[in-house]
Symmetry: C2
Subunit: 216 residues, 2 copies
């Protein structure tokens, strides 16, 4: 069955790979599944046809036969459950890998997303400059804890898993801020993720779209 | 095998059921699994023994034989996967229920958590009052979308699932703010969740601890 995902017609990051379709592309490449991409404009994302696929009007979505999914966590878990390569076979190790998926999305990413709020969404507000250090300190707090857990291991729990795919993807959002460089072991962890051939293919695929000027 | 979870020795909400152990208690009650609770103080949560269980120094954790998990999403998924009652049998319906778990935690909860930031963490900052309406509007935006998708259905996708358990739990955090009452269908959805006998038992169990004055 053909897998079709959606992605931005033109990503706000201009091809840095931070749009969430890159996470799904990466997972698809890790498990060796071909896929098609349907590009959607910002306007189309808020229209009924797309909202039928994604109630929050975002990308990516995932269609496979009569199954439609949204939320990168859910899509990547679905791929990991149905194809080998992203979750360990041992039951306990599998449960821990899934734990890292949730930890990436619910514990590590929320403070990181506040960088977008303080710098862009509220970038023109009088408090923006004074608030930024508080947001950065909350991120550093999480990174300290994550770095302590990772130690000198290559991945969070044994072999590379969907939990690492998600954590690396979440941490990549910090690259433009420079804050990742304050944590050398995490910077190296992210670099190990980026070095994977599957990530390279996913990154190249999104760049091929976003490096072009928008149509029309 | 005995299941042991951790919870606050004394919850900051004084027993309103908003601490995350309530979510896990609710899931355990839905699937009919007995459990033990180990209470931890704020100080103990930041010490090595607890950080060994939970790298981010939070509650709840979950121990079952030689398996240790953290993150409510992961714990509830583990319970849902191993016991009937929280995920539908049909493969596509199951994938969609898991989607709602991730959507609750990664799309709906982050803007809601910003209420704590603006009101409490940054409550003494000069911008706090002026920022609050922006935070509330971002929450309203998500609630509008969620309300549109729920329509007049009882649950998000067919029968009650772990996706609803998580979404109701996330929305419950809004009750003190009054914002939930602006969305009658969502307020009714939350009330349906709270009316479930399993939720009632979970709520009573956490209240029995938190309504007491702290030991010592």
């Amino acid at each position: 069955m053909t897998i079709t995902i959606t992605a931005f017609e033109q990503s706000p990051d201009g091809g840095k790979g931070l749009a969430r379709d890159t996470r799904v592309r990466w997972a698809l490449e890790e498990v060796g599944q071909p896929y098609e991409v349907r590009l959607v404009s910002f306007r189309a994302m808020k229209e009924p046809a797309h909202l039928g696929l994604h109630p929050f009007g975002q990308i990516p979505t995932y269609e496979e036969g009569d199954l439609t999914l949204f939320e990168t966590g859910s899509i990547i878990f679905h791929l990991a459950e149905h194809h080998p390569g992203l979750l360990p076979g041992d039951a306990n190790a599998r449960a821990r890998a899934i734990t890292w998926m949730f930890a990436s999305l619910n514990t590590v990413e929320p403070p990181i997303l506040e960088l977008v709020t303080v710098k862009i969404v509220e970038g023109d507000k009088p408090w923006s400059k004074e608030r930024l250090p508080l947001v950065l300190d909350r991120i550093r707090h999480r990174l300290n804890q994550l770095s302590a857990r990772l130690g000198d291991a290559d991945w969070l729990d044994g072999a590379f898993s969907a939990g690492d795919l998600m954590m690396v993807s979440v941490l990549l959002r910090l690259r433009p801020s420079g804050i990742l460089d304050e944590f050398p072991s995490l910077a190296a962890y992210v670099a190990r993720g980026e070095a994977r051939p599957a990530y390279q293919r996913a990154f190249a695929a999104q760049l091929a779209i976003n490096a072009q000027p928008p149509a029309g």
